[in-house]
Symmetry: C2
Subunit: 210 residues, 2 copies
């Protein structure tokens, strides 16, 4: 074993491209990977657990976290604040654990600015416009107008694909999960992440590592 | 499907670390991957086939290939010349096929200088000095002196690990082959290799891709 630093795996996609399903299966299948828990000012919904689904804080506390630099990224969505606490992520990475982020392109840009060394970013694309529309429609009984708005939003989100390192065409869920796992397994043995490598090689060269 | 450019997968290791076995299994298990055929001035041995094992040429022809810039890398080993013809590699990459290179750190440095965009480099390490010595001994009934020379050469080769992108500790052959396949599958969907991506995304955004 060579000691390694963990990585931050970011999955982004327009809604309807399958990101949430891929994330869930990935967490089931992979050890050493956990989902980043966001902090938010939005009210807790029935069934949600503080510390599991979110860290629920009030607006004052959120602002304090921002001011103290305790958030790796944050954004306002529909009047509520959301952010990623730095502490738990740093702890995980330092102990060789990987962290999964289900965030949009704005969050990814902030992570890129604050933690690019540890970042592995994947953008998930739907296989076709028709399939994207089918998925957006099947979600609920929405009016054509609402679906059209979502399609326009998806087209806008898709325009941010050039900011990502890997591009995954999700035309088959099982294959897509395998592909993200391949990215994870490959990135884990990138030389820069193997912090124990110089010691290990010294042991190999002088025979002291046996 | 998004059209992609092929990649050059380089595996290097000190002898005895398992590179040749990993390469052979990889070629068996992976479509769209073929071994680069080297050109050499060394005499053909019984059973070797021109165009399959090597391209056998004389010293004059080899020098002409060097002068014309037809080799991606070349080196002199024990009085014979070896090199990688550029043409077949370029053709493979342009048609979305990957090429495997079983070369040392000197060849890798030249590929890095001539084709870094397409290069994916993996350095394979033995799990321990003891295991490396065991593997070097089991190869033949060599004297202690010969084994000691090989161990010294291996230590020297290992010192080049910082020139590689991925580091693979080969303590289990099946796991190692899986790990190299993960690298291959991940690198294939790196954004820069997906040359058909801008067209594909345009089709998604305006609905013309269906």
């Amino acid at each position: 074993m060579i000691t390694r630093r963990g990585l931050m795996l970011v999955l982004s996609s327009p809604s309807g491209a399958g990101k949430t399903s891929i994330s869930r299966r990935l967490l089931e299948q992979e050890d050493d990977l956990s989902l980043s828990i966001s902090v938010t000012t939005r009210p807790r919904r029935p069934g949600e657990v503080h510390g599991r689904d979110y860290l629920f804080v009030d607006a004052t506390e959120f602002q304090l976290m921002v001011n103290r630099g305790e958030l790796l990224e944050h954004a306002k969505v529909f009047g509520n604040y959301y952010g990623t606490p730095r502490g738990p992520v740093e702890e995980a990475l330092a102990s060789g654990q990987d962290v999964l982020f289900d965030i949009d392109w704005q969050g990814t840009q902030q992570l890129e600015a604050n933690a690019s060394r540890d970042l592995v970013s994947v953008f998930i694309l739907p296989p076709s416009t028709r399939e994207l529309e089918r998925r957006l429609r099947s979600r609920a009984q929405d009016s054509d107008e609402v679906v059209a708005q979502r399609m326009a939003k998806a087209a806008d989100e898709i325009s941010h694909y050039p900011e990502y390192q890997y591009i995954l065409l999700n035309d088959d869920m099982t294959a897509s999960v395998d592909r993200v796992r391949a990215i994870l397994h490959a990135e884990r043995i990138k030389r820069e992440r193997l912090v124990g490598l110089p010691d290990f090689v010294r042991g190999l060269q002088d025979g002291s590592g046996d």
